[in-house]
């Protein structure tokens, strides 16, 4: 929470409509995302109850489990979900493109898929569901007394892959709609209230003639909008409990199937409103332009996808149950790097995000009032001279410039150009005059004149910041190693005694 979002929240609370927090969208939104609205049975670790899923808003596929406490039924559900999701995943692998990795002598050309799967779930609990379902299914045996269909552990490995990447903010393969929307809009309610999808959308997209605040409160009523799940509404569970008891006790196949249809209808009714909300969210997000770094990040996701798909074909052992200490530490370091990089990229792509850093003093904006394109200073080798132009930026009266002389900064306008603060002078009107020494970004020229566009003109408004999207803060080995650097090298399959577990009463 920063002051900018506080101001946005305050404004929203007055107008009754959500306020934008961004000018662009910082996540990739695929042409063909796979939307998943799952429901689970209350009280259990991961007892799938039902799901609506698919890539076509007009044609969701309904999956239901009429006997969710029955463990064989859970794995049959997984099989059915696998059929849908694995087909979608395979569909992403049809076209490939070349790309290069490494530099100089270590340069390598590889292939990655032109598409990658994108799984959209309603909320953070939906992401936990994906992780849990992955855990439930990826270690199952396909032979022996408790055998499951082959597609089940495959589904589990993929779900775990999605969930592992979801922890990285720069990855877009598994996203929660509430988080996506809340990243772009501030409502006039608290963030915990925002985790309710129907309420959140009521602020962002209020119905005709109503204000967002009122619509959001109405949307909290489970009688009006069934919960987005995976948890069901406890009062609805009473209906479900009754129907399922009838189903279990039905005396003939036809009677059972008829009750089963009713169960399906009730479950569908609980999920369809959320399904529609999901696609409305997709629509609203598509209306936002994409940030400049987004395709690059998605290209990385496509690379991880391609590599994992290949790994599954070649070796295919499932992810271990838990990260060992070393692997966990590396993963944490990678995560911290990713967060830093992602935040810097967001700021570079979006002036409204950069504004946060302007307030904290990590960035400042000013107008160019002077430039020296012919400046030389002594180089490292004795007697040599290097070309280092300068520009002078004049800031407004209230602008914070907390950065010390000698600080390295960059501008989103010219991300390839390094700059260093030479001088900061407080002016009479309260503003600052900042002299910046520039290095590089002159199309490889080492002497004046600077090619057009590479040296800022007088009157240009520029923002400089200490944020740097290309920095690699931690000293980790390159991502050239397997994407398991997000985790670690695969562990051999541990035979699990779960396979021997039986249902207790």
């Amino acid at each position: 929470m920063n002051v900018l979002s506080t101001v946005a929240t305050l404004t929203a609370s007055r107008t009754g409509r959500a306020e934008p927090l961004t000018t662009v969208r910082h996540q990739h939104l695929d042409e063909k995302p796979f939307v998943l609205v799952p429901l689970t049975l209350a009280g259990e670790a991961c007892a799938p109850l039902a799901a609506l899923s698919g890539t076509d808003p007009e044609h969701p596929t309904l999956l239901t489990v009429r006997q969710p406490r029955n463990r064989a039924e859970r794995f049959r559900f997984a099989e059915r979900l696998a059929a849908l999701l694995l087909a979608y995943i395979d569909g992403c692998r049809t076209e490939t493109e070349p790309y290069t990795v490494g530099r100089g002598k270590e340069k390598e050309e590889r292939l990655r898929c032109r598409r990658a799967p994108q799984l959209l779930v309603p909320n953070g609990e939906g992401i936990s569901y994906v992780r849990l379902l992955g855990r439930l299914t990826r270690l199952r045996a396909t032979e022996g007394p408790y055998a499951v269909d082959q597609s089940v552990p495959t589904l589990g490995k993929w779900l775990t892959w999605f969930a592992d990447l979801a922890e990285f903010p720069d990855s877009g393969v598994l996203l929660a709609m509430t988080r996506l929307l809340a990243a772009n809009w501030a409502t006039g309610q608290s963030s915990s209230e925002d985790s309710h999808l129907a309420s959140l959308l009521a602020w962002i997209d209020p119905p005709e003639g109503s204000d967002g605040a009122r619509a959001a409160r109405e949307a909290e009523d489970p009688a009006v909008w069934p919960p987005a799940g995976p948890s069901t509404d406890p009062v609805f569970d009473r209906t479900l409990h009754e129907l399922m008891t009838r189903y279990d006790e039905a005396s003939d196949g036809r009677g059972r199937e008829a009750v089963g249809r009713q169960i399906d209808r009730e479950l569908s009714g609980q999920m369809l409103p959320t399904w529609r909300l999901m696609w409305r969210g997709v629509e609203l997000l598509r209306e936002l332009p994409e940030g400049a770094h987004v395709p690059g990040r998605w290209a990385l996701d496509r690379r991880w996808f391609s590599e994992y798909a290949e790994y599954l074909e070649a070796d295919g052992r499932p992810q271990a149950r838990r990260d060992q200490a070393v692997r966990a530490a590396r993963r944490l370091a990678r995560l911290e790097d990713a967060v830093t990089r992602y935040e810097a990229q967001r700021a570079y792509d979006d002036p409204l995000v950069m504004a946060e850093y302007e307030l904290t003093g990590e960035a400042f904006t000013g107008t160019v009032t002077a430039r020296d394109g012919d400046r030389f200073i002594p180089g490292e080798r004795p007697g040599s001279q290097v070309w280092r132009p300068t520009i002078t930026l004049r800031t407004g009266t209230d602008v914070r410039v907390d950065l010390a002389v000698g600080t390295e900064v960059k501008s989103p306008a010219r991300p390839g150009q390094e700059a260093r603060i030479l001088e900061v002078k407080r002016e009479d009107d309260g503003g600052h005059a900042v002299v910046l020494q520039l290095k590089g970004g002159f199309a490889r020229k080492r002497t004046p004149p600077a090619p057009p566009g590479t040296l800022a003109e007088a009157g240009e408004e520029l923002t400089y910041t200490t944020l740097n999207p290309t920095a690699m803060p931690s000293a980790l080995p390159d991502e050239e190693n397997t994407p398991w650097t997000h985790g670690g090298p695969p562990q051999p399959y541990e035979p699990t005694d779960e396979d021997a577990e039986e249902t207790w009463e």
Partner: protein
């Protein structure tokens, strides 16, 4: 004019939504009214189900995946058991307790019975059994060959909560001291295992439910279960149960004997079977039954 099955199902769904609304509003009168309407609609639906030909599957705007046989049939129905047997409940309990060999709770009695016999024995039906048996004994004395009676707590000789026993067992066998629940549990394990052995020896393989029951015992007795084996080994269970029982035996037997002696000297026949009177509120009972 009979409504179609589809229309009736829509009405049912609508009524259920209304019912939930009334429940949320805690409106008891409304809840009752809607429930009545729901029951009527359900009856109409069941009637229509019997008379209609084929149901319409394309009812709602979602696509069902290509049906797989496993998806539509689901898990099997609960296996049908004849509910009105020719065997009276007390005899069923008698057989189960004989098999188990020590005082047991209704749930275990029911599980053990249904593990080995085809008729059902619902645990809830045993709730009033002890009381009925006590009445019968009070009226008829030892007229019947056995009674389903109580187990007695070692300290106050009152009926132990939730346990049934056989009158043909000596008092010692029906005393519950601190180690007795565990000792009796081990006896139950042995009884179950021996019954399976008996059946196997006689050429009648024991039902799956019996093996499942044995497995529950085996998993909680040290050394009784070999994790690698697909099924528990009755002989191994018996050996392990005996081994642990030996550890507790001396102390447990001492307490049982002391309590049994007191029971014989202090309690009337009916109390020896069904326990001393429950403790009254000690704040008002000056003489008190606290030991």
């Amino acid at each position: 004019m009979a409504a179609s099955l589809e229309e009736l199902e829509q009405r049912l769904s609508h009524l259920r939504t209304e019912l939930r609304g009334a429940v949320r509003a805690r409106d008891k009168a409304e809840t009752a009214r809607i429930r009545r309407a729901l029951r009527e609609a359900e009856a109409a639906w069941e009637h229509a189900l019997e008379t209609e030909a084929e149901p319409n599957d394309e009812a709602f705007p979602v696509r069902l995946p290509a049906p797989q046989t496993s998806a539509t049939t689901g898990a099997p129905c609960r296996t049908e058991r004849p509910t009105h047997g020719s065997i009276p409940i007390r005899e069923q309990v008698h057989q189960a307790l004989t098999l188990l060999g020590a005082p047991a709770a209704p749930k275990l009695i029911s599980s053990a019975y249904e593990a080995f016999f085809t008729e059902s024995l619902v645990a809830t039906k045993l709730a009033s059994l002890r009381r009925d048996e006590e009445r019968s004994f009070t009226a008829q004395g030892y007229a019947r060959p056995y009674y389903i009676c109580a187990a007695l707590t070692h300290d106050r000789l009152v009926p132990a909560r939730g346990l049934l026993a056989l009158s043909t067992w000596p008092v010692e066998r029906r005393i519950i001291g601190p180690l007795s629940p565990r000792a009796d549990f081990l006896t139950h394990a042995v009884g179950t295992a021996e019954q399976i052995q008996r059946l196997t020896a006689a050429g009648h393989p024991a039902p799956d439910a019996a093996w499942r029951l044995l497995r529950r015992f085996a998993l909680t007795i040290p050394g009784a279960y070999d994790a690698a084996a697909p099924e528990p080994d009755p002989a191994r269970v018996i050996a392990a149960a005996h081994a642990e029982a030996a550890v507790h035996q001396q102390e447990d037997d001492q307490q049982r004997q002391a309590a049994a002696q007191r029971a014989r000297t202090q309690l009337a026949d009916v109390q020896q079977l069904f326990g001393a009177a429950p403790m009254r509120d000690a704040l008002r009972d000056a003489s008190g039954t606290l030991s």
